[in-house]
C-alpha cells in the first residue's frame, strides 16, 4: 500500500509545474537548488515505492507451486511462503541498496541546501514553493506547498542524517527477517512523511506528514504482526495519536475561520489582531496534537508500548524524529504560542511533570527498551519545558542532541538484543527474554564497541560536560530560571498561581529529573554491561559484537553525541563560537522567543552557579547509581517482590489498567449494550412492527408477509408500478 501511496504522490510531486513564483518579492534562494525542494521527500518516497513493489511483486505474480495441490492446507501455506521467500531473497541486495541509498541521496541534498542557505546570507523569510493545488474551494486555497527556512533545513538534516545511519544499521539488524523489503518500504515511507511534516508550508500539508508518520509508526510497531501484542501496540499508538490529531484539526478549523488562510506565512500574518482568546484556544488545541505525537501527559501511554517494533524503528521514530514532531510544531507555530503566555506556561508545566513522571518509571524497569522509552518521554518533557518557556532554540537544540544520543542508545540496545537473541538461539533457549536487563550483565566483554559508545551516550544524556546533552539540558534549565523573574511569562499566571512561582517549580522539577536521569541510565549500563554475566553459560558462548554495518552507525552517533554541544555553546563557555544554533534560528523563532522571554537576565555568577549545580547533580546521580547497582543482582526468580509504592512505580503507576477499566471497557460496554443491543435493536423491532401494522392496515394479507413469499409480494409491487405508469402514459 505504501507503494500505491507513493505511486499516487510521486507524479504529482514530479510535476514541478514550473509555476511562476507567486511571491512578489524576490527571495535569496530563487533559482537555486532549493527550487528542487520537492526532491527531498520524493527520494524516500521513491524508495518506499520500489521496496513496496519488491515486497509485493512475488504475490502479484505468485510462483506456480501449489496451485494444484489442494492437500493439506497448512502445508500449502508453508510451501507458498517458502516459494515467496526464495524469490524475495533474490532481491534482498536490491532492497539493501535502495533503502539506505535514497536516504544518502536525501541527506546529501539536505546538506547542499544547508550550505546554499549559509551562502545566501541571512534569510529573513522562508522560501516557499507551491507545486500543485490541493483543495481549492471558495476562499479556501490549500496547495501542495513546501517551505525551506532555517528550522526546516535543520530538521531535514537530522531526519535524513540520523535516518540514513539507522537505515544502514537496519541492513544488519533485519538481515535475517522475512519481511526485509516490507520493512524498508515502511521505513522509507516514514522518512518521506517526516520530511513532508517539516517541509510543509501550511498546516494541512504538515498534517499530511503528521498522520503519515503516524501510519508508518503504526505499520512498524506492528511489523511483527503475528504476535497479537505487537499489533495491539501499533493500534494503541495510532488511536492515542488520533486523539491528539483531533486537537490539531480543530485548531486548523479555528485558524481558517479566523484568518481565512492556513499557510504559515499568511495565517500567522493575518492573526495579528486576533483576540487573546483565539490565541489561547489555538495554542491549546495545537498542543493537544503535540501531546499526542510527542507522548506528553496524559497521552504518553502509547510510547512505551511502541517498543514492540524492531529496535532501529524505536531509534528512528520513537526517539530521534517522529516523537519530536510536537516540539517542532510548537516552534513552527511560535507566533501563536508566544501570544498565549498562559498556555505556554501550561505547556512548560506539563513538560516538567512528564519529565519527572516518566523518569521515576524508568528507574524501575527491567526491559532495556522500556527504560529507554520512558527516558524518551522524559527527555521530550524537557523539550516542552523549553518551548513552553519560549526558549524555542533551546528546545530545538535539545531535540537535535537527543536525536544523536537517544538514537545511539536505542541502536546500542538493538545490538545488545541482537546479540542476546543470537545467543539464546545458539543455545536453543527461545523462551528466554532477550530484552530483560536481569538476563544480561558483563556484556562489556562481549560487545566492547557497543559498551563504549553506549557509555558515551549515557554520559551525554546524564548531562556530563562537555558532551552534547550537558549543553542542551543546561540551556533549557537556565532559560527557565532566567525567565522566572521579570519576563512576560513570569507575569502570566496559571490558575491563580503566579508565573514566576510556576517557573521556579518547573526548574526544581527539571533538576530532580536530571538527577533521576543520571541514576536510571547508569543503572541500565551497570546492569547490562558490568558485573557477572547472567545470560547462562551455554548461551553466553553465543554472544558477539555487532557486525560492522551495525557498529559504524553507532560510532558515528557517538562522535555526534560528543561534539553535538558545539552547535550552541553558551556565552559563558567560549570553547568556540557561541549561540550558533540560536543565531541560526533567529529569523524563525527569535521574535516569538523575546515575546515570552522579554529581556530577563541573570548575572554571570548566578549562571555559573547554576551550571555548577547541574554538573554536580549529574555526577551525584552517576555516583548514586554506582553505589546502588554495583552489587550482584539476586536471581530473577528469587528476587523479593516489589510492594507498595515501589510496585506501583514498577507497574508504571498502573495507568494502562486504570484507563482500560475507566474508559476503554465502559465505552465498549456502552456501545454494545446500550447503543446497539439496547436502542438500535429495539428501534429496529419497532420499525418492523410498525411496517407490519402498516401492511395490515393497508389490507395486505399478513401471512403472505410472514410466509416469506418474497417473489409474490414483490411482483405485486412491480405490477402496481407498471400499471400506474401505463395508466399515466396511455391516459
Amino acid at each position: 500500500m505504501s507503494a500505491l501511496l507513493a505511486g499516487a504522490l510521486l507524479p504529482l510531486l514530479a510535476t514541478v509545474a514550473a509555476q511562476p513564483a507567486s511571491i512578489a518579492s524576490a527571495h535569496g534562494l530563487d533559482g537555486s537548488a532549493a527550487e528542487w525542494l520537492w526532491l527531498l521527500p520524493a527520494l524516500p518516497l521513491l524508495g518506499a515505492l520500489l521496496n513496496g513493489g519488491l515486497a509485493l511483486w512475488p504475490h502479484v505474480r505468485p510462483a506456480r507451486v501449489d496451485d494444484h495441490s489442494d492437500g493439506a492446507v497448512g502445508a500449502s501455506l508453508a510451501s507458498r511462503e517458502a516459494a515467496t521467500s526464495t524469490r524475495l531473497a533474490g532481491t534482498r541486495w536490491l532492497t539493501s541498496l535502495i533503502g539506505p541509498g535514497v536516504m544518502l541521496l536525501a541527506f546529501g541534498f539536505a546538506v547542499a541546501l544547508f550550505f546554499i542557505m549559509r551562502g545566501a546570507g541571512t534569510l529573513e523569510s522562508p522560501f516557499v514553493r507551491d507545486y500543485a493545488t490541493w483543495m481549492p474551494v471558495g476562499a479556501l486555497a490549500i496547495t501542495w506547498g513546501l517551505q525551506l527556512d532555517q528550522l526546516s533545513v535543520l530538521m531535514a538534516l537530522v531526519i535524513t542524517g540520523v535516518g540514513f545511519l539507522i537505515h544502514v544499521f537496519s541492513v544488519g539488524y533485519m538481515a535475517s527477517d522475512g519481511g526485509y523489503a516490507r520493512y524498508f518500504a515502511y521505513l522509507n515511507l516514514f522518512v518521506a512523511a517526516m520530511l513532508v511534516l517539516v517541509l510543509g508550508s501550511s498546516y494541512p500539508v504538515l498534517f499530511v506528514g503528521w498522520e503519515g508518520v503516524g501510519l508508518a509508526s503504526y505499520l512498524l510497531i506492528g511489523f511483527w504482526f503475528s504476535e497479537r501484542a505487537n499489533a495491539d501496540a501499533g493500534r494503541k499508538a495510532f488511536i492515542v495519536n488520533r486523539i491528539g490529531d483531533f486537537g490539531f484539526l480543530v485548531a486548523m478549523f479555528l485558524l481558517f475561520s479566523t484568518t481565512g488562510a492556513l499557510d504559515f506565512v499568511g495565517a500567522h500574518a493575518a492573526l495579528g489582531a486576533a483576540s487573546p482568546a483565539v490565541f489561547t484556544a489555538l495554542a491549546l488545541f495545537l498542543f493537544l496534537g503535540c501531546a499526542g505525537k510527542s507522548a506528553q501527559l496524559p497521552l504518553y501511554i502509547w510510547l512505551p508500548d511502541a517498543m514492540a517494533g524492531p529496535t532501529p524503528v524505536s531509534a528512528l521514530i520513537h526517539a530521534a524524529t517522529m516523537v519530536t514532531a510536537g516540539v517542532y510544531l510548537v516552534a513552527r507555530a511560535a507566533p501563536i504560542f508566544s501570544a498565549a503566555p498562559q498556555v505556554s506556561l501550561f505547556i512548560c508545566l506539563i513538560g516538567a511533570t512528564t519529565a519527572l513522571f516518566a523518569a521515576t518509571i524508568a528507574m524501575r524497569q527491567w526491559d532495556i527498551k522500556k527504560v529507554l522509552a520512558y527516558s524518551t518521554v522524559s527527555q521530550l518533557g524537557y523539550m516542552f519545558v523549553a518551548v513552553g518557556a519560549g526558549a524555542y532554540s533551546a528546545g530545538v537544540f535539545h531535540l537535535v542532541t537527543h536525536a544523536f544520543f537517544k538514537a545511539l542508545l536505542f541502536l546500542g540496545a538493538g545490538a545488545v538484543i541482537h546479540a542476546m537473541h543470537a545467543a539464546y538461539h545458539h543455545a536453543h533457549q527461545h523462551d528466554q527474554d532477550a530484552q530483560d536487563l536481569r538476563n544480561m550483565g558483563g556484556l562489556r566483554r562481549h560487545l566492547p564497541i557497543t559498551s563504549v559508545t553506549m557509555w558515551i551516550a549515557t554520559l551525554a544524556i546524564a548531562g556530563v560536560p562537555p558532551l552534547a546533552g550537558f549543553f542542551s539540558k543546561d540551556e533549557i534549565l537556565s532559560a527557565v530560571f532566567v525567565r522566572a523573574q521579570g519576563s512576560p511569562l513570569a507575569g502570566a499566571s496559571l490558575l491563580g498561581v503566579p508565573g514566576s512561582v510556576v517557573l521556579y517549580l518547573i526548574y526544581a522539577l527539571g533538576i530532580v529529573t536530571a538527577l533521576l536521569t543520571a541514576i536510571y541510565m547508569t543503572r541500565l549500563m551497570l546492569l547490562a554491561f558490568t558485573g557477572e554475566n547472567r545470560t547462562g553459560e551455554r548461551a553466553a558462548a553465543g554472544l558477539h559484537e555487532a557486525p560492522w554495518i551495525m557498529a559504524v552507525p553507532m560510532v558515528v552517533l557517538a562522535l555526534l553525541s560528543v561534539v553535538g554541544g558545539w552547535l550552541n555553546l553558551p556565552e559563558l563557555m567560549p570553547l568556540g563560537p557561541t549561540q550558533r544554533l540560536a543565531d541560526w534560528l533567529e529569523p524563525v523563532t527569535g521574535g516569538a522567543s523575546r515575546l515570552l522571554g522579554g529581556s530577563a537576565h541573570v548575572d554571570h555568577s548566578t549562571e555559573l552557579a547554576l551550571i555548577g549545580g547541574a554538573i554536580a547533580v549529574a555526577v551525584l546521580g552517576i555516583g548514586i547509581a554506582f553505589a546502588r547497582y554495583r552489587t550482584p543482582l539476586p536471581d530473577k526468580d528469587h528476587a523479593p517482590v516489589d510492594t507498595g509504592f515501589a510496585a506501583l512505580v514498577t507497574d508504571a503507576y498502573r495507568v494502562d489498567a486504570g484507563l482500560d477499566r475507566t474508559v476503554v471497557q465502559p465505552l465498549g460496554a456502552f456501545s454494545a449494550r446500550v447503543l446497539w443491543q439496547g436502542i438500535d435493536v429495539r428501534l429496529d423491532r419497532a420499525f418492523v412492527a410498525g411496517a407490519r401494522a402498516l401492511a395490515r392496515a393497508a389490507g395486505q394479507a399478513h401471512d403472505a408477509l410472514g410466509a416469506g413469499d418474497v417473489g409474490r409480494y414483490a411482483w405485486v409491487i412491480a405490477l402496481g408500478v407498471v400499471a400506474l405508469l401505463a395508466a399515466f402514459t396511455l391516459r
Binding site: M1, L4, L5, G7, L12, L56, H59, S76, L77, W134, M135, V137, G138, A139, L140, W144, F207, V208, E211, G212, L215, F225, S226, R228, A231, R235, I239, R242, V250, L254, S257, T258, T259, G260, A261, G266, A269, A270, L271, G272, A273, A274, L667, G668, F670, S671, L675, W676, D680, D684, F687, V688, A691, L694, G708, V710, G711, I717, A718, V721
Partner: protein, 548 residues
C-alpha cells in the same frame, strides 16, 4: 476530448441513452442471455439443460454495463467544468397532459455521482463474478434495471421522472436482496421496502402538492424553484421530502434497515445500497426547493444534532460489531452524519465536502464490501473471529483492505480526508460546536477500522483452513487496483472534482443563504480578527445569485 465529444453532438442524446440503454440491455439479457451453472470450482460449466443457447447472461450484462460506463465517462469529459447551470440537457416530451417531460441534465453535484455509478457497476460485477450463481438472466436484468434507476435519479430534472426512477431503484433491489440474499433476506428486504416506500409515498404526496401549487403545469425543477412558498408550506413539504431522503440515506434514527439489508444482500447489492442517493436528492431537491425551511433555526438544529449523533453513534456501534459488513454499514451511518452536517452547514466548503464524501463513500465502501465478499467467497462468512493472521496468507488483500480502511478513517493522502476535512472546516465557520463534536468522530473511526484490520489481518493464523485462502487475482485484483487509484487520486488531486462542483455548490449556498457569498460568510464569522489576507485573496467568488 471535450471538444471532440461536443463536436459529435453528444449533449443532445447522451443522458437519455445513459438512462435507457440499461433497460434495453435488461430486455436483451432476459431474452437471449443464457443461464450457466457455476460449479463449486471457479470454472463455469455451461449446461445445455439450463436453457437456450446464446451468450452467457453474465458476460452480456457486463458488456452492457461496460458500454454504460463508457457513456458515463463520455459525460464526464463532455461536461464543461467552468460553466454553471444544467449541462447535457435534454427535454423530450413524455406526458403532455400532465406537463411531465423527460427532462434530464447534470451539474457539478450530479455529474460525479452519475459517473461514479456507471463506472462502479461493472467493477462491482467483475469483483463479485462468482458470487451469484443462480437465475443469472434475471439477476443481470435486475442489475441493469437498477442501473437505469440510479442514472435516472442522478440526472432527472423532472420531479415525476425522478420519482419513477426512485421507485425503479427500489424494486430490483428488493428482488436482489430477496432472491439472492442470505438466510435473513426476507425480513431485511421487506423492512427495506416498507420503510423506503413509506418515505417515498410522502415524497409523492409532496410532489403532487408542489405541482398543484405551481399551477399544475410542469414537474420541472426549474419551474418548481420559481414558486413562491410561504414558510409554513415550505416546512410541511420539506418535512415530507426530508423524511423520504433521511430514510433512504439511513440517517439516525431511521438507520436500522441499512445494516440488515447490506448484511443479507449479495455483495453487489450492498455496494449499490451504499450509493448515497438519499443525500444527493436532498441537495438536489429538498434544499433548493425549500430554502427557508431548510435554514429555519429549529429544523437546522434538529438536523445538525441528528448528524452529529449519527457520526458518533455509527462509529461507536461499528466498534462492537462482529461482522465486517456490519462494521461497514455502521461506518456508513457515521459517514452519513458527515454528509448531512456538510449539507446543512451550508458553506461552500461543507457542501463540496459533502458531495465529495458521497463520491468517496461510493468508492471506498464499495471496495470494502467487495473485500468482505472475497472473505465470504472463501469461508461463507466475514465474522472477524473466524479470521486472523490473513496478512501472511493474502498480502495483496491485506494491502487493499488496509488502504481502504485508512481511506474510511480519513487519512490525509486518501480521498476520505479531503471530504471530511472540507465538511468539518466549512461547518466550523458557521457552527463550531457541532464541528468540534463531529471531529471527535475521527478518533472513534480509527478504533473500529483498526479493530477490523487487526482481527482479520494480524495476530496468528489460528484457523488452518484460512491458510488456503486465495489472494486477490485477475479481475478482483484489477478492480481493487482501480478503486485504490481512485482513492489516492481524489486524496491528492481532488481539484478535477472540486472544480466541477464549485459553480453548483456556490449557487446552492447562495440560494440558501440569500446571496451571501463565500467571502462575506468568512468575514462575518471572523469579525474578531483582521482579514487583510482573506479580503485580498484573488479567488473570492463573487458570483451573483443565479436562479435557474
Amino acid at each position: 476530448m471535450h471538444d471532440l465529444l461536443i463536436g459529435m453532438g453528444v449533449e443532445r442524446w447522451l443522458l437519455p441513452v445513459l438512462l435507457l440503454w440499461p433497460l434495453v440491455g435488461a430486455s436483451l439479457v432476459l431474452l437471449i442471455g443464457r443461464d450457466v451453472r457455476v460449479a463449486e470450482t471457479r470454472d463455469a460449466v455451461p449446461s445445455d439443460s439450463l436453457g437456450r443457447g446464446g451468450p452467457d447472461a453474465r458476460v452480456l450484462t457486463l458488456s452492457v454495463l461496460l458500454v454504460e460506463a463508457m457513456l458515463g465517462l463520455a459525460a464526464w469529459f463532455a461536461y464543461d467544468g467552468a460553466a454553471s447551470g444544467w449541462q447535457l440537457r435534454t427535454d423530450w416530451s413524455w406526458l403532455p397532459d400532465l406537463g411531465a417531460r423527460l427532462s434530464l441534465g447534470v451539474d457539478g453535484i450530479s455529474l460525479p455521482m452519475l459517473v461514479l455509478t456507471t463506472c462502479l457497476m461493472p467493477l462491482a460485477l467483475v469483483a463479485t463474478w462468482n458470487q451469484v450463481t443462480t437465475r443469472l438472466p434475471t439477476f443481470g436484468a435486475l442489475l441493469l434495471a437498477l442501473t437505469s434507476g440510479l442514472v435516472g435519479v442522478f440526472s432527472a430534472l423532472d420531479l415525476l421522472l425522478f420519482y419513477l426512477a426512485w421507485e425503479l431503484m427500489l424494486i430490483p433491489m428488493y428482488f436482489i436482496i430477496g432472491i439472492w440474499g442470505t438466510a435473513g433476506r426476507t425480513r431485511a428486504a421487506i423492512k427495506y421496502v416498507m420503510l423506503t416506500m413509506f418515505g417515498s409515498l410522502l415524497m409523492l404526496a409532496a410532489i403532487a402538492v408542489l405541482y398543484v401549487m405551481g399551477g399544475s403545469e410542469s414537474f420541472h425543477l426549474d419551474h418548481l424553484l420559481r414558486i413562491p412558498l410561504a414558510l409554513d408550506a415550505q416546512l410541511w413539504l420539506f418535512g415530507a421530502f426530508f423524511l423520504a431522503f433521511a430514510i433512504k440515506s439511513a440517517l439516525v434514527p431511521f438507520h436500522t434497515w441499512l445494516p440488515d439489508a447490506q448484511f443479507e444482500a449479495p455483495v453487489i447489492g450492498a455496494v449499490v445500497l451504499g450509493l448515497k442517493v438519499g443525500t444527493y436528492a436532498l441537495l438536489r431537491f429538498a434544499l433548493p426547493l425549500f430554502p427557508a425551511a431548510a435554514m429555519q433555526e429549529t429544523v437546522r438544529s434538529v438536523v445538525l444534532v441528528l448528524s452529529v449523533v449519527a457520526i458518533v453513534w455509527g462509529a461507536l456501534v461499528a466498534m462492537v460489531q462482529p461482522d465486517l459488513r456490519k462494521i461497514l454499514s455502521y461506518s456508513s451511518i457515521s459517514h452519513l452524519g458527515f454528509i448531512m452536517l456538510g449539507c446543512f452547514a451550508v458553506t461552500q466548503q461543507s457542501v463540496d465536502g459533502a458531495v465529495l464524501i458521497m463520491v468517496n463513500h461510493g468508492i471506498t465502501t464499495s471496495a470494502l464490501f467487495l473485500l468482505a465478499g472475497v472473505l465470504r467467497e472463501h469461508s461463507g462468512t466475514d465474522r472477524l473471529d473466524t479470521f486472523g493472521g490473513l496478512a501472511r496468507v493474502v498480502p495483496l488483500f491485506a494491502v487493499m483492505l488496509t488502504l481502504s480502511m485508512l481511506s474510511t478513517i480519513g487519512l490525509p493522502g486518501t480521498n476520505g480526508f479531503v471530504g471530511e476535512f472540507l465538511v468539518l472546516l466549512g461547518t466550523y465557520r458557521t457552527d463550531p460546536g457541532f464541528a468540534i463534536v463531529a471531529t471527535s468522530g475521527v478518533v472513534f473511526a480509527s478504533v473500529y477500522a483498526l479493530r477490523a484490520v487487526q482481527r482479520l489481518l494480524f495476530a496468528r493464523l489460528d484457523v488452518a483452513a484460512n491458510g488456503g485462502m486465495r489472494d486477490l487475482r485477475g479481475g478482483q485484483l484489477a478492480v481493487m487496483g482501480v478503486l485504490a487509484i481512485a482513492m489516492l487520486w481524489i486524496g491528492v488531486a481532488p481539484q478535477a472534482l472540486l472544480r466541477r462542483m464549485d459553480p453548483a455548490s456556490s449557487a446552492l449556498v447562495e440560494r440558501l443563504r440569500g446571496g451571501v457569498s463565500d467571502q462575506t460568510a468568512i468575514n462575518r464569522s471572523s469579525n474578531r480578527a483582521s482579514n487583510r489576507s482573506a479580503n485580498e485573496s484573488p479567488d473570492a467568488p463573487l458570483v451573483g445569485v443565479t436562479v435557474r
